[in-house]
Subunit: 334 residues, 2 copies
DNA sequence: TTGAAAGCGCTAACAG
DNA sequence: CTGTTAGCGCTTTCAA
């Protein structure tokens, strides 16, 4: 593998000149530049990133940690990263076995300048790393004071969704809330709060038996199918007439199971998801969901992180985007 | 940020000793080791990975490139990587705008030792990079002679699926095949071949009007919904009685649309997917699909890649795993 | 506009 | 069991 000295030699210049040609920003005589570029090409030279990283002692790479890598968010992240001259590396960090130490090692080892958490619900990991490194959360946000976050207002989204459904005549609300070993994530708590407030405003309440806490399901969705079947089997005056889900796939399951059981959706039961997914548009009826301006959120989160890396003393910002209520067939009669 | 010399100084030893303590494999007096570790801890030292990488001129990191990062494959990859002492970074490479140059730059820049392609259908990118670097393909495999691949036998999977359906009495098969600007990927061609062979064996054929080529859909699934509606609207003697899909989400759409239109699934039409997804188990009826031993495939692919990196002269292996026909409600009456 | 020297942090090779 | 030397490839700094 050719090094910068090989290129320099072949071009008859010093390594410094090669460096200047490749990195730009310096005056180099045109004929020299051409000779250098020719040498680069003929030797198929590629700068060694360890050498560069070691010398510059700063990394133009960020880690994106999470598990469900939502395409449009990644698009936004890559867009900003490109504009700012940063590289993006994804690190698979599923909620229950995220490895904060490994992330930290990479940053402290100089391979990355900061961490962008994507829909990360492991709040301990976030807390730990936020104390050590430039960190931005995008999507779900742990309640860590003074953190940089890019979110939507989950409480308000839940409030507005429920308000709409109440106005459509729904009365017996169920909320299937995500639960984790350490208790529900703060995102879920905020949604629950929004639901309760919206109901209270109409003289209604979220009955305890209709608040279902369900572990974050990943492989086996049987508990969700069972729950939906139980809904279907309830006598009409007890059965919820509106069910709000944290996890999108569970809402999809619910729509399918209820219809299979002969219940009308949305006629007898309205189903909605606080999260959204392309699948929502292909099931029948289509699924009402809370959408987010993903691409813009990704772009903003990336800009924020770079800002934080290059300017660590500046105070953190919390950017809240407007959510989008996607009212669809599972709640609204055609 | 403390360097190895700070640690050495604090522990009253040479940097070399610190290095040996941290990297293991050398005899170090126990009392010395303890002093070093104490210094490491007190200074909160973390080795600089650029320094190490530069010196060792080899990277114990691999790139995993793809877009739909399937959880169990990643699990398998991480498992093998951990056992072999490798790090894994994911690089988001969506089919139509993968950036082979960026991948190559990382490898040639010394940041990674090889590339593991995950369900990558951009065959040009694969061809290019395979010629330059250690590469393993996992999942869909481009037809590049002499490549390392971990796959299932797509043709055989399609053959067996169709054979089963024919035996259940299906006659008018449709295949909704993935298409790309440069023509269908080889995976699709293999499946098509399997379907044709299976039909021919029973004196049937895949009629041209029932071979539907559909661009790889990502955001807007309207064409798939339209297609399903067209199926539903056909007179019974023309309508396919079995539809095989390349893209899982399109099959989900089909099941939902057909049922919405009042057609019985699987009574009137059987629907199956050559790909699988957790969603298949929650829709009703559940979706028949070709499953794969994902975790084992990920493990094997990672082992293969490391083997290739450390032993570039050895010939490539093509490992074929046994697929799993998951016959479910969308084809088999309960 | 170009070059020389120095050193980033680490470990291989050798010496003791 | 431990230390010394040297150098990986690059760019910062200083000099011309």
């Amino acid at each position: 593998m050719a090094s910068i000295r090989d290129v320099a030699q072949q071009a008859g210049v010093s390594p410094m000149t090669v460096s200047r040609v490749l990195n730009g920003g310096y005056p180099v005589k045109d004929s020299t530049r051409r000779r250098v570029l020719a040498a680069v090409k003929s030797l198929d030279y590629e700068p060694n990133l360890h050498g560069r990283g070691l010398r510059q002692a700063r990394s133009r790479t960020v880690l994106v940690a999470g598990s469900g890598f939502v395409e449009p968010i990644l698009d936004g992240i890559h867009k900003s990263a490109g504009e700012l001259g940063y590289e993006v590396v994804l690190v698979h960090s599923p909620p229950q076995r995220a490895d904060p130490a490994a992330l930290s090692r990479r940053v402290r080892g100089g391979l990355a300048g900061g961490i962008l958490f994507l829909n990360m619900i492991d709040e301990d990991a976030i807390r730990t790393l936020t104390a050590l490194h430039p960190v931005v959360q995008c999507g779900s946000a742990a309640d860590v004071p003074g953190t940089c976050t890019v979110t939507v207002d989950e409480e308000r989204a839940a409030y507005e969704l429920v308000e709409r459904l109440v106005r459509q005549g729904r009365r017996r609300f169920a909320y299937v809330a995500m639960d984790l070993p350490g208790g529900p994530p703060s995102m879920t708590r905020r949604r629950e709060q929004g639901i309760r407030r919206a109901l209270a405003a109409q003289g209604l309440a979220l009955e305890p038996e209709r608040l279902v806490r369900m572990t974050h399901l990943r492989d086996d969705y049987a508990p969700a199918l069972d729950l939906a079947r139980r809904f279907a089997a309830m006598p009409e005056d007890v059965r919820p007439d509106a069910v709000v889900y944290d996890q999108n796939i569970l809402a999809v399951a619910c729509v399918n199971v209820l219809r299979e059981a002969g219940l009308a959706v949305p006629g007898s039961v309205a189903v909605a998801s606080m999260d959204d997914n392309p699948i929502d548009l292909v099931i029948q009826p289509t699924l009402t969901a809370v959408g987010r301006p993903y691409k813009a959120m990704g772009e903003e989160a990336m800009r924020m992180l770079v800002d934080r890396i290059e300017n660590p003393e500046a105070p953190c910002r919390q950017v809240v985007f407007r959510h989008i209520l996607e009212m669809r067939g599972s709640t609204d009669p055609a």
